[in-house]
C-alpha cells in the first residue's frame, strides 16, 4: 500500500482545545498554575531519567489533561499522568515507582500541598490514592550488571573452528564474516494484493479507468495477486554458562539479520525468559546480551529450558508473535526442570509456529549425532531441523537452509 501516503495532503497539529472555559478553578490563579507546571516538568524530568520517553509535547498534553481534571487531587494527577505519559504496560511499574518517590516522598512545598489535599475535604469522591502493586520488572533489577566470562582467539580455518575455541581476535574476524551472511527466511503469502500480470482477483479499479476509453467495454483484464512477505524469525537463546559463548555469536548473527530487513525477534533465557528485541535496536549485541544475562539468570538455579519455553508460549507465542514464523532455539538441552514441562511447551510451540530449528553446539560436526540429554530427547519429536551452530560454517548452513523450510 505505497499509495497510502498520498491520501492525506496536509498535516496540521492535533487540536488542543481551549481549556479556559472548562479549566478547574484551582488552575485559574496564574501563580498556582505556574507552580503546577513547574512541578509537572520536574516530574517529567524524573520519569525521563528513569527511562520513560517523555517529550515536551507529552508534558503539554499532561498539563492539558490535568486542566480538565482536579489538579489538587493526587488521584487525578496520578491517573492523568499514567494515561498520557505511559504508552506500554511494562512502563507502568516504572511510572508507579517514580510517582511514589516524587509525590509521596514530597520535598517541595507545592507537591506537599498536593499531597495534603489528596485526602482533604476538597477532594472528590474516592480520593484515596491506590497505586496498584506491581511486579518486579527487569527495570528494577537493572542495578547489577553481571559480566559474562570473556572468551579466549586464514578465513577457511575460522569457518570450522568452534566459537568456544576462538581467540578474541579470531572472533572479531568471525563477526566480520558473519555480518555478511544474509538471512532470507522463507516467504509466505499475505492477504494484501498488488497489481500483477496474472492473479486471482480482478483489478476492478484499473479496469474501470481503462474501459472509459473503450466506451465502457472492458477490453482487457487486469489482475491483482497476493503479495509475499518474509516469515518472522524468532531466536530463543540459552545464555547459561556453558552456552554463553555460542549464544553471543548467534546473537551477533541475529543482529546482522535484523538489519537485513527480515522481521527478527530475540529472546534470552537462563532460569527466566526475557525479550531483548527492543534493546538490540539501540544497544550493541554484546551490551544487550550482558544486560539480558543480568536479568534472566539466577546463578543458583541452573538452566530451565522447559519453564522458559513455557513462558515464551504463554506470554508471547499465544498472542501470535511466532504464528507462521521460524523459531530458532539455541541450547544444549541440559534442562534442570521437569522434562514434562519441556515436552508440553515444545508441543505447544510446534502448534503455534511454522517450523522449529534447534541449534545444539554439542552436535558439533557429527552427522550421526543423536541427542543424549533428556531435554533434547524430549524436544526432538517437535524439531524440524537440528543444526549445531557451534562454528561459522554451521551458521552459513542455517542461512542456506532457511529459505528451504517452506
Amino acid at each position: 500500500m505505497t499509495s497510502s501516503s498520498c491520501w492525506i495532503t496536509s498535516r496540521t497539529s492535533p487540536q488542543v482545545p481551549d481549556s479556559t472555559d472548562r479549566g478547574h478553578p484551582g488552575l485559574r490563579s496564574p501563580r498556582a498554575g505556574a507552580a503546577l507546571i513547574g512541578t509537572l516538568v520536574r516530574f517529567g524530568r524524573e520519569l525521563r531519567s528513569a527511562g520513560l520517553a517523555v517529550g515536551s509535547g507529552d508534558l503539554t498534553s499532561y498539563a492539558a489533561a490535568l486542566a480538565q481534571l482536579d489538579p489538587s487531587d493526587l488521584g487525578d494527577v496520578y491517573w492523568a499522568g499514567r494515561t498520557v505519559l505511559v504508552t506500554r504496560r511494562d512502563d507502568i511499574a516504572v511510572y508507579d515507582r517514580v510517582f511514589r518517590g516524587f509525590f509521596l516522598g514530597a520535598s517541595d512545598p507545592f507537591t506537599a500541598m498536593l499531597v495534603m489535599n489528596a485526602g482533604g475535604p476538597t477532594a472528590t469522591s474516592a480520593a484515596e490514592l491506590v497505586i496498584p502493586a506491581t511486579d518486579l520488572t527487569p527495570d528494577e533489577q537493572q542495578g547489577e550488571q553481571a559480566v559474562l566470562g570473556l572468551m579466549a582467539s586464514g578465513a577457511e580455518t575460522l569457518r570450522h573452528k568452534s566459537f568456544a575455541a576462538c581467540t578474541p581476535s579470531e572472533l572479531v574476524a568471525v563477526r566480520r564474516i558473519m555480518a555478511r551472511i544474509r538471512l532470507t527466511p522463507p516467504r509466505r503469502r499475505t492477504r494484501r494484493t498488488a497489481p500483477a500480470r496474472d492473479g486471482t482477483t480482478l483489478d476492478l479499479r484499473r479496469m474501470i479507468r481503462q474501459s472509459m476509453r473503450a466506451h465502457g467495454e472492458p477490453v482487457e483484464l487486469y489482475w491483482r495477486a497476493r503479495k509475499a512477505r518474509s516469515r518472522p524469525v524468532i531466536l530463543i537463546l540459552d545464555v547459561s554458562g556453558s552456552m554463553a559463548d555460542y549464544s553471543r555469536n548467534l546473537l551477533q548473527f541475529a543482529y546482522s539479520a535484523k538489519r537485513a530487513a527480515a522481521k527478527v525477534e530475540v529472546f534470552c533465557f537462563g532460569t527466566r525468559l526475557t525479550r531483548i528485541t527492543r534493546e538490540l535496536d539501540h544497544r550493541r549485541p554484546d551490551d544487550a546480551l550482558a544486560h539480558a544475562a543480568s536479568t534472566v539468570f539466577d546463578w543458583e538455579g541452573g538452566t530451565r529450558i522447559g519453564s522458559s519455553l513455557d513462558s515464551f508460549v504463554r506470554d508471547w507465542g499465544r498472542r501470535g508473535l511466532c504464528r507462521g514464523g521460524i523459531v530458532v532455539i539455541c541450547s544444549d538441552g541440559l534442562d534442570r526442570g521437569d522434562p514434562a514441562v519441556l515436552a508440553a511447551a515444545m508441543e505447544r510451540l510446534a502448534r503455534l509456529s511454522y517450523r522449529i530449528v534447534w541449534m545444539n553446539p554439542h552436535k558439533g560436526g557429527d552427522l550421526a549425532f543423536r541427542p543424549s540429554t533428556l531435554g533434547m530427547m524430549v524436544a526432538e519429536p517437535h524439531i524440524d531441523l537440528l543444526l549445531s551452530g557451534h562454528d561459522l560454517s554451521s551458521l552459513e548452513e542455517l542461512a542456506s537452509l532457511l529459505p528451504s523450510l517452506n
Binding site: 488521584g75 474516592a126 479499479r205 474501470i208 474501459s211
Partner: protein
C-alpha cells in the same frame, strides 16, 4: 448526555449504561473526551475493552462505527471503495456523445458511486460518532502507519473528490490484545490505559449488573471459582466475559449452587483449552469449594 463535567459524572453515566469503570479507566476516557484524543485500551482477552466503546456510544447517544482490523486490511476496506458494478453499468448506459464529455469521468468518480467504509463514515459523522477500531494489533504495520495519519488530524483525501475533514473529531477508542507491540508513533497519538482483571468484589458487581437474573450467592461462588482459575497456571485464563457466560450458563440450567457436578457440566463456558481442562478437572473440588 452531552459531555460529562467530572470523572464521577462519567463513571455514573457508564454505570447507568451497564459498565463499571474503575477510576483509572474513567479518568482516561474523561480526558480523551475533553482533549479530543483517541484512547488506546489494552488488556487481557475478555475484560471489556470493546464494550467500553459500545456503552460510550449508547450513553452519549452517538452512532457507533466499528472497524474490525485483520491482517491485510487496506484502504478499500477501511476508508472507501468505488462501486465498480454501478460504475460499469453507468458507462454502458452512456451515449457516444456523453462519453466524449470531459466531465464524464468526474461524474463517474463522484459521491454517487462512493461506498463509505468505517473511517470515512466516522470523519463525516464527526462528533456524532464513536469510532471503535477493534483489535488494531491484528492489522499489519502498513495499516498502522496509515491509521496514524487519519488519527492525527481526522482528515482524509480522496484524489477524485478532495479533502474531507471532521468539523470536530469523533471519539475514538482503539483496542489491542497485544498480539504484537504497536508502533510508538501510534501510541503517542493516543491516551493509553491497561485494563486488568477486576478484583473479586468488583467482578461480582459486574456479573450482577449484566445478569441480574443470577442469584447473588451463585454469582459469588462463580466469581470465587474464576478467581481461583486465574491463579491456576492456565494457558488461557478466563476473562470477565467468561465469568458472565458461566453464570449465565449455570442459571440457564437451573443450578442455584456451584458444586462439582454443575461446574463439570458447564466448564466449557470458562475453560477453552484441552490442557487447561485437564488441569481444572483435577482441581475441581478445590475450585468450587467457595469462599
Amino acid at each position: 448526555m452531552d459531555r460529562p463535567d467530572t470523572v464521577a459524572d462519567l463513571t455514573a453515566a457508564l454505570r447507568r449504561g451497564g459498565y463499571l469503570a474503575d477510576r483509572g479507566l474513567a479518568t482516561a476516557l474523561f480526558v480523551a473526551i475533553g482533549l479530543h484524543r483517541p484512547v488506546l485500551l489494552e488488556g487481557e482477552v475478555g475484560v471489556g475493552k470493546t464494550e467500553v466503546a459500545k456503552v460510550l456510544a449508547a450513553i452519549f447517544g452517538r452512532q457507533l462505527i466499528r472497524l474490525q482490523c485483520y491482517e491485510g486490511i487496506d484502504t478499500s476496506q477501511a476508508l472507501y471503495e468505488w462501486d465498480y458494478a454501478r460504475q460499469m453499468l453507468h458507462i454502458r448506459a452512456l451515449s457516444e456523445q456523453q462519453i466524449a464529455d470531459p466531465d464524464a469521468v468526474d461524474k463517474l468518480f463522484g459521491p454517487k458511486f462512493l461506498l463509505e467504509r468505517p473511517l470515512l463514515e466516522a470523519v463525516r459523522a464527526g462528533e456524532r460518532a464513536v469510532l471503535l477500531i477493534d483489535e488494531v494489533d491484528r492489522a499489519d504495520d502498513e495499516f498502522e502507519a496509515f491509521l496514524l495519519e487519519v488519527l492525527s488530524d481526522f482528515q482524509l483525501s480522496i484524489p477524485e473528490i478532495g479533502t474531507i475533514k471532521a468539523d470536530s473529531p469523533p471519539l475514538v477508542v482503539l483496542t489491542s490484545n497485544r498480539t504484537r507491540e504497536l508502533h510508538d508513533a501510534l501510541k503517542r497519538r493516543c491516551l493509553y490505559h491497561w485494563i486488568g482483571y477486576p478484583a473479586a468484589e468488583r467482578e461480582v458487581e459486574i456479573v450482577l449488573l449484566k445478569e441480574p437474573g443470577v442469584g447473588e450467592a451463585l454469582t459469588r461462588k462463580v466469581v470465587f471459582a474464576v478467581q481461583r482459575l486465574r491463579e491456576l497456571d492456565l494457558a488461557k485464563p478466563p476473562g470477565v466475559a467468561e465469568t458472565i457466560d458461566w453464570a449465565r450458563a449455570l442459571s440457564f440450567l437451573g443450578a442455584d449452587d456451584l458444586d462439582v457436578a454443575a461446574a463439570g457440566e458447564t466448564l466449557g463456558a470458562v475453560v477453552k483449552e484441552r490442557d487447561d481442562l485437564e488441569l481444572v478437572l483435577d482441581n475441581l473440588a478445590d475450585i468450587t469449594a467457595g469462599a
